[in-house]
């Protein structure tokens, strides 16, 4: 009897947790499929059960959101991801394997970077980009986002690479493999899950990043998804909720798919650092 009670309690608790976790996503989807005239009396379901694609049609037609924001976000996120992965493989490998002067300082500095408020970098990076005549370009946005993503990427990969036995390197070295050869032929294939984790992380971080993407860019053609969405629908007042939510959904779906497909790697990346200490 107490077994049944216990099981019922577990399932009820799970249902409540699921409801809280998924409600905002459900609301976003629901509003995006509700007609403009019915949104205001559809708190839980589309009023009268009428589902419509009008909001999406409006987006692709003469919509409030420039669809370029998704292409821009994709370009920047891929760039940030590739750059962060490359740089962190090199640095992470060096930190995991070699003793060299300044190694400990770099090691600590990478963790220390987590403390630095991103807002602290706003003005200097903005001024630097203006001086380099890179302001209002996607390159500037990508570089700023790389600054935010790189320290964590290095730290994560260093951990992954340290777990690969160094004896493998030494064996290959004795067989006449060069240092770079060891890295490319022996270490990289073994570190593939870690590398994938870092690549996905950097991609997601860039895709979601709002602050620098909003400060470094002025013209509408250079906006990425978060700022593009904010610029048209973020100000208070007459928000066209249906279209705003449809635009939000279009930017959220790719990330959800990426997350669900690569979940195993992302989870191992998120937890490895904190649990191992």
């Amino acid at each position: 009897m107490s077994g049944i009670l216990r099981r019922t309690a577990v399932y009820m608790a799970v249902a409540i947790v699921l409801l809280c976790a998924l409600a905002p996503m459900y609301q976003m989807l629901m509003v995006s499929f509700t007609g403009q005239s019915e949104i205001l009396n559809s708190p839980f379901f589309p009023s009268g059960g009428r589902i419509t694609l009008d909001n999406y049609r409006a987006l692709f037609g003469n919509g409030v959101v420039n669809l370029r924001i998704y292409a821009n976000s994709l370009v920047v996120a891929v760039g940030v991801s590739v750059a962060a992965t490359t740089l962190s493989i090199l640095a992470g490998y060096a930190l995991a394997r070699f003793r060299f002067p300044g190694r400990t300082v770099i090691d600590r500095g990478v963790l220390l970077a987590y403390i630095i408020p991103p807002t602290l970098l706003l003005v200097p990076i903005y001024s630097m980009m203006v001086a380099l005549r890179l302001d209002d370009t996607l390159i500037a946005v990508g570089m700023a986002q790389l600054v935010l993503a790189l320290p964590f990427a290095i730290w994560l990969l260093r951990g992954f690479l340290r777990d690969i036995p160094a004896e493998l390197d030494e064996a290959a070295r004795i067989d006449g493999c060069s240092h770079l050869g060891v890295l490319i032929r022996i270490v990289l294939p073994l570190a593939l899950p870690g590398i994938a984790t870092v690549a996905i992380f950097a991609f997601l971080e860039s895709w979601n990043e709002f602050l620098f993407a909003s400060v470094l860019v002025t013209s509408p053609e250079q906006r990425t998804y978060p700022f593009g969405l904010y610029a048209v629908a973020g100000t208070y007042g007459d928000v066209r909720w249906g279209e705003a939510m449809a635009a939000a959904t279009l930017g959220a779906i790719p990330v959800f798919i990426l997350f669900l497909v690569f979940q195993k790697w992302i989870v191992s990346g998120l937890t490895s650092g904190a649990v191992k200490g």
Binding site: A13, V14, L18, L22, A23, P24, M25, Q27, M28, P43, F44, L87, S88, L90, A91, A94, F98, R99, F100, R103, T104, I106, I115, P117, P118, T119, L120, L121, L122, V123, P124, I125, S127, M128, M143, L146, V147, L150, P151, I154, W207, N208, F210, L211, P226, L229, Y230, W241, M245, A248, V255, F256, L258, F259, Q263, V267, L270, T271, V275, G277
Partner: protein
């Protein structure tokens, strides 16, 4: 500490070997340095240099509107005007309230949900994926969804309260409820990370400890208190530090959900930096706020690490 390279000894046979080793170590060291160089150079230019510049700018007067005008050294006057400013106490309080409240809630709820998801039930894998999904939701989309759900006239939250016979609450319209809504949104977005870390940590508790507790006839609650919690205390401490720092620095959710309002009731220090720099174009004041934030976090991290490591030593 960096390990010193071994000094060659006087024995000729040995010195030859150690000289070889020394040369090899030198080459290794050079290769290691060369590999870190690209990342290091990039971070030096775009992280370390901006950090130093901001600290220096907090002692200078400069405007974003006149970039060609050289910055003028003004001593401590930025610091004085920031620290004695009329909104500083409430902005600092908002930042601390948001960081502490959302961190405490994330840890308590994170523990509860992790324990729940650690039970055996049907479809557990799918449920776990769904519960962790908010981590991937773009902040802008989350802010939109929360703004809509907590809308005072049309939102689902007030409609649900209405069904329960409770009158509508102006969630984002009054200071206290706006802060509460912000905390809820931050917890929602931050909880998946905490759940994942705690779930992973739960797997590392030795099974024998639970068996021993069961032999002793301990209740589930006492088992949690005396077996699970002590085993997880170090992980909990790390998560606590990481979350406080993260929330303290987080600009996006606050800006996108409340914009610091109503009035200045949810304005936090990251918003101050942004507003001073890009609304008032006052770089000196913005830099002072930013340097203050970094200083507070540095002290917090050092004190906390000192406290937890000392406890570990005992």
């Amino acid at each position: 500490m960096v390990k010193r390279m071994p000094w060659p000894s006087n024995d000729p046979q040995q010195s030859k070997a150690s000289l070889m080793r020394l040369r090899l170590q030198h080459r290794d060291a050079l290769f290691g340095l060369a590999l870190t160089l690209p990342a290091l150079a990039f971070l030096a230019v775009f992280l370390a240099k901006p950090l130093l510049e901001t600290v220096l700018l907090s002692f200078q007067s400069s405007s974003l509107l006149e970039p060609d005008q050289p910055a003028e050294f003004v001593g401590l006057s930025n610091w004085q005007s920031v620290l004695t400013g009329s909104t500083f106490p409430s902005d600092l309080r908002n930042t601390v309230v948001l960081a502490v409240a959302s961190t405490v809630l994330q840890i308590v709820l994170g523990l509860a949900v992790a324990l729940l998801l650690n039970q055996a039930f049907k479809l557990r894998r799918i449920v776990r994926s769904a519960v962790v999904l908010p981590w991937a939701m773009p902040t802008i989309a989350a802010a939109f969804a929360f703004r809509w759900m907590f809308d005072s006239s049309f939102g689902a939250v007030n409609s649900a309260l209405g069904l329960a016979g409770i009158g509508s609450v102006p969630w984002l319209g009054t200071p206290v409820t706006a802060m509460a809504t912000l905390v809820v949104a931050v917890v929602w977005k931050g909880l998946p990370f905490v759940i994942l870390v705690f779930l992973a940590s739960l797997q590392t508790v030795p099974k024998e400890l639970y068996e021993a507790a069961q032999v002793d006839g301990a209740s589930k609650w006492r088992e949690f208190l005396h077996v699970t919690l002590p085993h997880m205390r170090f992980v909990i401490a790390i998560v606590l530090v990481l979350r406080v720092i993260w929330t303290f620095n987080w600009f996006d959710m606050t800006w996108l959900l409340t914009g610091g309002g109503p009035g200045t009731s949810t304005r936090t220090l990251p918003l101050d930096v942004y507003i001073q720099a890009f609304r008032n174009f006052d770089v000196g004041t913005a830099s002072t706020y930013a340097t203050f934030m970094a200083g507070v976090l540095m002290i917090f991290a050092l004190v906390f690490l000192r406290l937890t490591t000392r406890k570990e030593d005992k």
